[in-house]
Symmetry: none
DNA sequence: TATGAATGAGGGTTCATTCAT
DNA sequence: CATGAATGAACCCTCATTCAT
């Protein structure tokens, strides 16, 4: 039970993103996800423990892929400021690349269900860890202020990117999210260095 | 129908904060809120259109009160930096004063239900407007950078405070939220001025 | 309790006819009837035992008035055929005179609730008795067939008039109900006499 | 959704007839119908859109079957009077064969709910059409009066049969309904021919 | 008499999950 | 592995009725 690989596993994940994005979390019935994925209702339960597990897995897979890619990308530059700039840019680029996924990540997944929050916590923590790595590296390299509270700094960085991204998905007027990464980087960079 | 004043109106709002904080929005049965408020189930519907309206009204009342108080408090100082400092401090103080309310505001109210999002939008917009007022004032007084993008700056300020507050309510180890306002202010102020 | 006279008693009855005709039986809330009658909800219960009693009383009053008027009108002619003709004409004229009342009588009052059926039975029985009087008189006067089964004859007369009236109120194209009384009389009269 | 065939579909229909006959439409809880049919509550909604749809479908199935059988039966005789006699006899025999069904048809189905009235209209119209066919045939064959208003004649025939049947189901003293068909036929036949 | 705010019982419906095939 | 028909628990809301004023 709950075989976490295979074509159908991915198909269900992708179907869930689409169905949840288009219908909202509460109208994303298991049967609808199954139909979109081209499998029977019961098949979902061969790959996932329950509906909540689909959501959580979706987040884990997508977030995991993003974090891994970002980790690699960031490691390829030694400049602390460049790392921060790339972080913001990757964050925005990733969301802008798949609007459905962005909708699910920024809006639909913000459920208060304890189980979901718990399942989301771990991949999120890993991303937080990545951000804190950027901060610590900047401090070590004397690029950022030495008296930075790493956790607060991370909360500022993530909080800002998250809020900017949420406003973007909610907006009725289309504009480029990645196009904002330069300015957002500037704001954050100043906060981390300062006068 | 839907008389939006009176002792019972307030009693139901307060009961809703408590019950939703303790059980989550989806496990907060109307009958439980009614019992906590000391009224009959049906009485809820004399003051609110439906369960969703309770949550929305709760937000509107609490957020409205906070925004009004903050507006007054901020107006009492002419220093742009002091205004920003007070904004952060008021934001945190307000949430720390009522942990149940904070839980509802930071966690339970983040529902993807379209109706809830819609009901929340207006009071939130007003708060955003207040924050943007602080930014614009700082720019006018030549305290903040003249090239600031007001919306991005607001997203940084709100996003940061929101993320800090969310981590605080989710934390298992108790610590003071208001106690962080100084450092958060520093981070933000630097971002708005900067080298 | 349940004072069955007075201006408000009549006002409530008339309000009930209007509200039920316009909104249907299931949307005819007591509070709506009260508002239409210009009294408080509770006042209804000073004049009626409960909502069902309003319905039943409405029927009793209206049917009683009609039966009494019809009885008098029929007595004023000695011709058995003329009596039957007048019965049909009065039945149709009465309904056509107040479309709201007709709607309530032919459609809305046809509820399956046992209480209502019971309350309606008595005034209806009196009307049936009146019809049977017309039949018996016709037989006695050797105008109608001597072998008539009075009950069946009454069922034919009432059933026919009732069906014609129901089709009339349900019809979307307006036409005169009373204008049909001549033909309906002919059909019935032939049935009662026959070759 | 709403698969309108199969054993369970029929079982639910039959269970509904029984439960509604015994408890009345408004006291016929879906869960009671489900239990009587030997299925789960939710299963009802695999075969019907909602509770109202159960009642409407019940009528459509039963009325459809009756109309079809009657159409065939009537076609097997060329005598206009015989056709009328058979119509009355079939109408009564059908109702007498299933007292529960008769109760539902004559009493419980006479709801003022717009949805029910609408759902009932079509099968009823078909039956009306059948009756009018009998009348037209009689006129064509010069058996009935040439000046008959077909609609009024149909209303007399149906209204009379309906009223006789309603009195029969409502009666506390048991007697044969089909046993009345001869006399009822006589009454109607005379009305259609007449002196 | 009259008011109208408050009461609280009661049921239709959805949908995640199962399991016989 | 895959299916999809069947399950049944869970809850919001309405509205007739009451009673303190």
């Amino acid at each position: 039970m709950a075989k976490k690989t295979g074509d159908k596993y991915r198909a269900i994940i992708e179907a869930a993103v689409k169905v949840i994005a288009e219908n909202g979390y509460h109208n994303a019935q298991v049967s609808r996800i199954a139909r979109e994925a081209g499998v029977a209702d019961g098949t979902i339960y061969l790959y996932f423990h329950n509906k909540e597990d689909v959501l959580i897995s979706l987040f884990q897979v997508k977030m995991g892929e993003f974090t891994a890619a970002a980790r690699q990308e960031l490691a390829s530059t030694a400049d602390p400021f460049e790392r921060l700039a790339r972080l913001v840019h990757l964050h925005f680029t990733n969301l802008e690349a798949d609007r459905n996924l962005a909708l699910v990540m920024q809006i639909q997944l913000r459920q208060s269900d304890p189980g979901i929050r718990r399942g989301i916590a771990e991949p999120l923590r890993e991303y937080f860890h990545l951000i804190e790595g950027v901060i610590n590296y900047g401090v070590e390299m004397k690029a950022f202020r030495p008296d930075l509270d790493v956790r607060l700094a991370r909360q500022m960085i993530f909080g800002t990117m998250d809020e900017v991204a949420t406003c973007w998905v909610m907006s009725h007027h289309p504009y480029s999210l990645a196009g904002l990464s330069g300015q957002v980087y500037q704001l954050l960079a100043r906060g981390l260095t300062g006068a």
